[in-house]
């Protein structure tokens, strides 16, 4: 680093990266300011960098145009709230449950694949690898028919189940678990611990970072899984936030203000979560990958 050339090189790079960072920040800036703009500002021909007047109309529209019950269990219907809140609850629920279920099933399966010898292991692993990159569009129609046969169509579980079945988490944790010395597992078994105890007390704490990576990946994937939501959900009270906002558009018109407000409402919580838990996020992802 003491020669002159690299420092000039890095100086240029710093500026470039800073510029790139600005362009990455821009969409979010535009969404947040856009959610406070009046319609004339939003569709203006020349970019309106800062709203000429800050208004809450878009948020008011978002919260007043549609309503939905807070919950409905049998014939017990909860109080009516703005549908946007219900959509947020649905979205969080969907992502959280997908995440928990995936972590549970994937860590168990990943452990078995990494540490146990059983018939069909190679075939199963090949299937997992092959299915990992498969776009959902491929199995779209059969999946839709299956969900309707199971009476899960238009139900939040119809968006959760395919994510849990998606084998990427298993792959991730299997790769991670292979890095754990087998002796530790065996030692535990010789001590007379049951299979389940071996898993929960010895294995799980050691693959935790891998599970963390799996959790983050699943949560964000599920949050952004617009396509599955579009196909599987239809009624107002079961929709997710991005889907719900789309249904508030008029004939041949796109209310950008409304979309911006909805997106801001949906993304600010997840961004705050990301900033607060940044350390865990990055640690989880990295450990999972580096060991793998």
């Amino acid at each position: 680093m003491n020669s002159k050339k690299p420092s000039i090189y890095y100086f240029i790079c710093y500026i470039l990266v800073a510029l790139l960072a600005l362009s990455f920040l821009f969409p979010l800036y535009w969404i947040i300011t856009g959610s406070f703009k009046v319609k004339a500002d939003i569709i203006s021909k020349t970019p309106v960098w800062i709203p000429t007047q800050w208004v809450l109309d878009n948020y008011q529209n978002l919260l007043s145009k549609r309503s939905a019950p807070l919950f409905q269990i049998g014939s017990w219907v909860g109080p009516t709230i703005p549908a946007a809140f219900r959509w947020l609850i649905n979205t969080v629920f969907m992502s959280a449950v997908s995440m928990l279920l995936t972590c549970l099933t994937a860590s168990m399966a990943g452990y078995a694949l990494a540490k146990k010898r059983f018939y069909g292991r190679t075939i199963l692993f090949s299937l997992i690898v092959a299915a990992m990159a498969l776009p959902k569009q491929v199995i779209l129609i059969p999946l839709l028919r299956e969900m309707s046969a199971l009476h899960l169509y238009d139900h939040i579980w119809a968006t959760i189940i395919p994510i849990v079945g998606w084998p990427f988490g298993v792959f991730l944790i299997k790769q991670f678990a292979e890095g754990i010395p087998t002796e530790m597992v065996e030692a535990c078994r010789i001590d007379g611990a049951s299979e389940w105890r071996t898993f929960t007390d010895v294995m799980f704490p050691m693959i935790k970072p891998g599970v963390g990576a799996c959790a983050i990946f699943t949560f964000i994937n599920s949050w952004n899984d617009y396509f599955m939501q579009l196909i599987m959900l239809s009624s107002t009270q079961n929709q997710t936030i991005s889907l719900g906002i789309a249904t508030m558009q008029g004939e041949n018109s796109t209310d950008f203000g409304l979309i911006m407000a909805g997106s801001a409402l949906a993304s600010v919580p997840i961004i705050i979560v990301f900033i607060v838990f940044q350390k865990y996020f990055t640690k989880g992802i990295t450990m999972g990958a580096v060991k793998g």
Binding site: K45, I73, S75, M147, T236, G250, E251, N252, S253, T254
Partner: protein, 420 residues
């Protein structure tokens, strides 16, 4: 900690699993109404008012409303059908999805619900060859276009327009576009073709310009691959101020018109003027599409209700009651139509009384032309149309080259019509 987590998860599961298991009282019926954004029919407060009025007469019927959008709405109904959860009532139009579903045997025949006095042309457009009515007509419009009157005036282009009748001839249309282009406007009008949104505008523009047709009068075949339409497209290709844009659809076009980028909109109606009132900074002047003799045959749109055959007589009857309530009584029907921002399909007194804007748009009604959207293979014909426009936009603009593209699109559409 773990126990709390487990408990939370169990609760969550109950919350989610329990949602669909709704139990109903014995004689109560719940029906679902899915509506596209037709005027104020996307507005929860408006729709709830109608349902409340209905429940005063029929307290035993619960109506659950879902709101669709034009971008995803079609896919949503199609997936719902495939998912075995089609709605009971759909309020749709005018691109004949109901007719399509009807042809596939998914809809109930509503012939006995058509109110007396429904305009002959409308009623016949909604009736199939074997006398069935799948879509009960509610409202209609003749699709028109619009110009930025201020800009046209400044460019001295208003001289080419019949200001009283809101019409123009093809020759005058081209002259007017030229005048506005000469005044320094690069984008006078844009043939949008990024998707099917608002394609009634481009269809009407092309087929009227040189007197072409879209389908034969019997509605069995598509006829748009004609010399006339090739000439029309060639004129548009070569006219200064007219561009083809495969990156936008009608909603983008309208936005560009409203903010002053485009000086004309090919997809326009009264609702657009109402919805954009607070963003418009110029005088919008609705126009009929240009035709050689100045008398176009405008593309009609009919909106209405359809009932899905969900094999449940109680629900089917309840759905019919609901539709009857909204359409049979003149006083209710007037309100229903006024909520759509379109015109009624039968004579009712006092509709849009004192509304100048609607009176201006009502001028278009007598120019309503053939209702060709009932031709078979419609969905294919639609997608072929905008794809064809994209290719025409990239072509050299000669009528010969354009005719090749038109023929390719028409062949595919006719093949689909024959297969149905």
């Amino acid at each position: 900690m773990k126990k709390i987590l487990a408990l939370a998860m169990v609760l969550c599961m109950i919350f989610a699993l329990a949602t669909p298991l709704s139990a109903f009282a014995d004689d109560a019926v719940t029906i679902s109404l899915w509506t596209y954004p037709i005027g104020k029919w996307t507005d929860e407060a408006t729709v709830k008012e109608f349902i409340a009025a209905f429940n005063e007469v029929h307290p035993e019927i619960t109506v659950k409303v879902e709101y669709l959008d034009y971008t995803n709405g079609d896919d949503k109904i199609n997936t719902a059908i495939e998912g075995g959860q089609a709605p009971d009532i759909v309020m749709e139009g005018p691109e004949r999805l109901i007719a399509n579903w009807g042809a596939k045997g998914l809809m109930l025949d509503l012939a006995d619900l058509v109110p007396a006095g429904t305009f002959e042309g409308v009623a016949s457009s909604c009736t199939t060859a074997d006398g069935k009515v799948f879509e009960l007509p509610v409202c209609m419009t003749a699709h028109c276009m619009a110009i930025n009157k201020d800009v046209f005036e400044a460019a001295d282009a208003l001289q080419y327009i019949d200001l009283e009748k809101h019409t123009w001839t093809t020759e005058n249309f081209l002259k007017a576009v030229q005048a506005v282009a000469d005044a320094g406007y690069d984008y006078v009008g844009t043939v949008f073709c990024g998707g099917q949104g608002g394609d009634q505008g481009t269809r009407a523009l092309v087929t009227n310009l040189c007197g072409g047709t879209y389908a034969n009068p019997e509605h069995t075949q598509y006829t748009y691959a004609s010399e006339e339409n090739a000439k029309a497209l060639s004129l548009l290709c070569n006219q200064a101020g007219i561009t083809f844009d495969p990156a936008i659809v009608a909603s983008d076009e309208i936005q560009n018109f409203v903010n002053g980028t485009f000086q004309m909109a090919f997809c326009w109606n009264a609702t657009q003027e109402v919805n954009n009132a607070d963003a418009l900074s110029f005088d919008v002047f609705p126009m009929a599409f240009p035709a050689p003799d100045g008398v176009p045959s405008l593309q009609g749109g009919i909106w209405g209700f359809g009932i899905f055959d969900n094999k449940d007589e109680a629900r089917a009857n309840a759905a019919k009651e609901f539709i009857k309530f909204l359409t049979a009584d003149d006083a209710v029907y007037t309100k229903v139509v006024e909520a759509t921002n379109f015109q009624p399909v039968r004579d009712v007194a006092g509709v849009y009384e004192g509304n100048e804007l609607m009176a201006e748009y009502a001028l278009m009604n007598p120019m309503m032309g053939d209702y060709y959207q009932i031709t078979k293979g419609w969905t294919t014909a639609r997608t072929e149309w905008w794809n064809m426009l994209q290719r025409v936009g990239e072509s050299d603009g000669t009528p010969e080259a354009i005719l090749v593209e038109l023929t390719a699109a028409q062949d595919a559409a006719n093949a689909a019509a024959a297969a149905e």
